[in-house]
């Protein structure tokens, strides 16, 4: 292999030897930045995280959520597609018989170990019922004990807190209003009321 030699021309002369022109050029740059940021920090792009949060894309894969039908039941039919496709084997489902015969099955247990999850989104793609999504808007999961990372079905289920849906695109589209939910739930033995 031939070594390539890069010739760097050395700038000599009185102007360079004086240092002062170069120093003033540099000072002009730094003082410009200084004055622009002195009042109002105009060029600063830092986001002060806990106080202000960046806008996240609607496609951001955050914590999972289990969507509901219009009557408030979980959309999930416990078909095991997501558990099968999951590369990190973090989903655990146990199916039960649903009282509504047209639905047939529902998940009695639906656990996701968020510590094992690699947030690849394959479960979302695999789901035939659009029952699991990763658009909860929760982007940071930080707890002090391992057990808290084990999200059970009821934790994963959609809440009705509008603040939990930072994602406007999907917000409450497939959710019943709270009054409807209250009307729907007492007849159900399968999905406990939240």
């Amino acid at each position: 292999m031939d070594l390539k030699v890069k010739q760097v021309t050395r700038i000599d002369g009185a102007k360079e030897a004086l240092f002062l022109p170069a120093i003033f050029t540099g000072l002009r740059l730094t003082i410009n930045h200084f004055w622009r940021n002195l009042f109002g920090a105009k060029d600063v792009v830092t986001v002060s995280y806990p106080e202000e949060k960046r806008h996240i894309s609607t496609r951001w894969r955050g914590r999972h959520r289990l969507t509901r039908r219009e009557n408030g039941f979980l959309s999930c039919v416990a078909c095991y597609m997501c558990e099968t496709v999951c590369p990190s084997k973090c989903i655990h489902i146990e199916a039960g018989e649903h009282p509504d015969l047209s639905v047939e099955k529902y998940p009695v247990v639906f656990d996701i170990d968020e510590l094992r999850c690699v947030f690849c989104g394959l479960c979302v793609e695999a789901c035939p019922k659009d029952a699991i999504r990763m658009d909860s808007g929760v982007i940071s999961l930080a707890y002090t004990s391992r057990q808290t990372f084990n999200y059970t079905r009821d934790l994963l289920r959609d809440s009705y807190d509008p603040k939990a849906h930072s994602n406007p695109k999907y917000e409450d589209i497939d959710l019943p209003s709270p009054t409807n939910r209250a009307a729907a739930l007492p007849n159900s033995k399968g999905v406990p009321a939240s």
Binding site: F19, L20, I23, F34, N37, L38, A41, V44
Partner: protein, 357 residues
Amino acid sequence: MDILLEIIMIPAVLALIKIVVIILLFALPLGTLLTLMERKWSAMIQDRVGPNRANIGSFTGHGLLHLAADGLKSIFKEDCIPRGANKFLYLLAPFFGMISAVAIFSIIPIAGPIGDFTFQVADVEPGLLFIFAITSLSVYGAVLAGYSSNSKFALLGGTRASAQMISYEVFMGLALMGVFMVYGTTRVSGIVDGQNEYWFGNLIPMWGVFTQPLGFILFFTALVAETKRPPFDAPEGESELVAGYFLEYSGMRWSAFMLAEYIAIVGVSVLMTTLFFGGYHVPWLHLWESAPQWLVTILQIIKFSIVTIFFCWFQIQLRWTVPKFRFDQTMSLGWKKLLPLSLLNLFVTAFVILAFA
């Protein structure tokens, strides 16, 4: 009450009060503030936010509480002495840095005299020669710290400090020689009063920066090297010597070195103000003859502080602008360029004074 007044008027007591006021109300607060301001200003230069997290409840004061946080942290940190260190010298070294930084303020007048009362701790005849003697002592802090730490990095830093000191100290004195010649005295009050004269009627004040422009640049360069800050930070050499001569220090002793560095910045600014920017004299104020004395004094203190703060800011701006000089570059800059330049400045000044005065 009378007894109290009499005690205060004893020269020694008066000098003590002046020392306390000038150092506790001027030098130390400015130096301490600069430790925060350096971080804040550098953040602005580099489009960052800077320190803003220290808080009491929801009060952060734009990072001001970091001063308290830093102080508390250094007080409660363990004061380590490395194995094999020369304990006596190791404990002594921070004081040298601190004392030489603080001593500059002893001969600087921060306002004009009112009658017999001077806003100056001591107006000694040698004046600036005293400053040279004191500032040269600051290198002992670095050398002793490096020598006694029993650490190779620290020793290298101390060696570099002494070698750098040799290369700037010579032209530092020569650069100021022009100022002595122009104003005809080494006494600080004499130099300050000399700058109250005007050229072309009342057009241009005879400030040192106008009478000695080259001397101004040379002396400022020398003083920046004196504070061991970038671009002349070879003794600290963050990139190759970690922290240089005070590498092994921790806790409050480390803070003493850092604080000494920032007080030295204030000291440099004060010197530049006094020698090259008219000291406390407010330009063209003598035209307003009916000005009350108290107002004049307040204006003088304000002018002095503004110019001083400007130079503090300028040094920090310089530190975040100019890349570091390699060690041999510092030496060759000092010996081959600035020393001949300061000699040239001396000859030209002498010639001009001979020809026109």
